[in-house]
């Protein structure tokens, strides 16, 4: 199943994101997987909000698409920011330093996701953060 929703770029959107997400829970997803996916979604969303949309008005929408199958969940977060070299950023990140406030959200995403990428969309207008989480059997 697939669901798509958009929210304004503001901190007040977080409860909305959580509420949209809670409506698509499936009985085959374990609580542990579900909570990890929820956390990954929020970390991706706040990254879009605080970094990609840092200099954009609150009306600029963030679009979220969630695809759930029996095997996995794919979360896509579309932003209208200038783009960013996530792979390069991850390379220079100290993944072992749990106290560093820098990149804590990304470190969490890396631990949860089986696949993580941030790419320009084909229409070249937006960026897409793709988070894929394979469910535990």
């Amino acid at each position: 199943m697939k669901t798509t929703f958009t929210v304004p770029s503001e901190e007040e959107s977080l409860p909305l994101v959580l509420s949209h997400f809670s409506k698509i829970d499936q009985d085959w997803i374990s609580e542990k997987d579900w909570l990890r996916c929820e956390l990954a979604l929020v970390e991706g969303f706040t990254n879009a909000l605080n970094h990609a949309h840092k200099n954009l008005p609150a009306e600029t929408k963030i679009e979220i698409e969630v695809n759930i199958t029996r095997e996995n969940m794919e979360i896509r977060i579309f932003d209208s920011g200038p783009g960013f070299d996530l792979a390069g950023y991850i390379e220079q990140l100290n993944l072992e330093d749990d106290f560093s406030p820098t990149g804590r959200g990304i470190r969490i995403l890396l631990k949860i996701a089986n696949h993580l990428s941030y790419t320009r969309t084909s229409d070249n207008n937006r960026n897409c953060l793709l988070i894929v989480k394979e469910f535990a059997l």
Binding site: E11, L35, E38, L39, D98, P101, R104, G105, I108
Partner: protein, 108 residues
């Protein structure tokens, strides 16, 4: 009898960066007022993200600098996962609930 140096703080709802900043202020006020033991009871926190966790790390730092002690209790499954993913369960002193905290720390 209430321990005069114990301050119990019970945040509610979504604990994000902004909420953490509010509570950091409250903790600082408690430390300034002479509290030496701070208990953050997270029972009513529905969700915490990395921003909220970052705030907790700063609260911990402030408490240590004031030569006081910080304890957490009543973490829900979501917060436990967040702590596990960031190895924070090894950093904070965590109790299952207020009763367990009272038995171990206040009335041992």
């Amino acid at each position: 009898m209430m321990n005069p140096k114990l301050k119990i703080i019970e945040p509610e709802g979504i604990f994000d960066k902004n909420k953490a900043t509010e509570y950091r202020q409250l903790v600082n006020e408690s430390l300034a007022a002479g509290s030496t033991i701070i208990l953050l009871d997270l029972q009513k926190v529905t969700f915490m993200d990395s921003g909220g966790l970052g705030g907790l790390v700063m609260i911990r730092k402030a408490v240590i600098e004031a030569q006081s002690q910080l304890f957490l209790c009543s973490l829900n499954e979501q917060i436990k996962i967040l702590f596990e993913l960031t190895s924070m369960e090894l950093v904070f002193n965590i109790f299952d609930n207020q009763e367990a905290f009272q038995q171990k720390i206040i009335n041992p």
